[in-house]
Subunit: 210 residues, 2 copies
């Protein structure tokens, strides 16, 4: 699964890079040009030493004492994360959640574009959502192959998630962002990331006293 | 932040418990009564040794060779995670995303109940969503205090997220599930979990070849 020549970077470090980039984007939006591992650490609740260590995997982004040039670091992180280009994403399931995803404006400026929508419900097929028409599941494989799409967001009911994931993998999708609260079983070369609000809530209640 | 007398459990272990519970729920729904660390590991892409080690923090849930009683392990994990009760949650922001969250049926059977909705948009205030009426932000503090709510889901536009988070903290909220793509600055005793689909997508594109 490695790329970019950074074969030995732990996945947990890769997982923090989008968080760093998100914080940098925010600082840049506020008009700031330079930051430090200390400032980033304060914002993110991560130690500055950890941030420096994480970034050092990808070469020297800043000098001790002078801080990081935000724009330069954004560019480098985008390159490392392969989002110095735009990725097309297929969205499967346009119920309440799928519609909210389709309308979310936060994808475009961060490297992603929802390029096609699918649903198994005949009542939803043909609906216009944003610039796109909802297509039937029968059209999925061909559409994904024609467009060479590699990423999909899965927003179908839990009982259909594994079956649809299988179809996605057969169609050439190699990365699935799964909103259904179920762990998918997929071949080793397929990546899955999970969005499950209940997992986040349960992780917090552990720490709450009655 | 520790509770349950398990003060020394690493947070990363706590983070995996909801994932284990989710997998157990699925197995139980399928009518299965016994599982093993091996089976769970296969489903979750986590080593069986890791699972056994994680669960051993909370006492012996199973015996080598006999596997785990699913119902018993579900109960124990719910207790550890403090979800052997129901938590009321405030939802702030009822745009497309907030509405999808409000309509999501996956909270109730996993320990959570959205008990009040707020929005700053006068056009949204007064709308009925599910069993609840959207309230103005001015009512937030009082409502949260009256109900003794500790958890909030934040689904407001990014430029308002920090300000609303401050109000939530002042109102007595101690856990925030933040859907806005910004790291919140909060006092140390406040927990924040993030839902950001772009972070999940960017984590996958790192591994994708062009």
């Amino acid at each position: 699964m490695a790329s970019n020549g950074h074969d030995n970077i732990p996945d947990i470090v890769i997982g923090r890079l989008p968080i760093y980039l998100r914080a940098l984007n925010r600082l840049a939006d506020d008009g700031q040009e330079i930051t430090s591992s200390h400032e980033l650490g304060q914002r993110l609740g991560i130690s500055s030493a950890q941030i420096r260590k994480d970034l050092s995997h990808f070469g020297g982004f800043g000098k001790q004492g002078t801080g990081y040039q935000i724009e330069y670091l954004q560019e480098k992180l985008r390159k490392v994360l392969n989002i110095d280009r735009e990725w097309e994403v297929a969205l499967i399931g346009v119920g309440d959640l799928g519609k909210a995803i389709a309308h979310y404006r936060g994808f475009a400026d961060r490297g992603f574009h929802i390029a096609c929508l699918f649903d198994s419900d005949p009542a939803k097929v043909g609906q216009e959502i944003g610039d796109y028409t909802v297509q039937p599941m029968a059209a999925l494989q061909q559409a994904i192959q024609d467009k060479g799409i590699r990423l999909a967001m899965l927003a179908v009911p839990v009982q259909h998630a594994q079956e649809v994931a299988n179809t996605l993998v057969e169609s050439g999708i190699t990365g699935i962002l799964n909103y259904a609260p179920i762990n998918l079983t997929v071949p080793k070369h397929i990546q899955v990331q999970y969005i499950d609000p209940v997992v986040g809530l349960q992780r917090m209640t552990y720490y709450l006293e009655d």
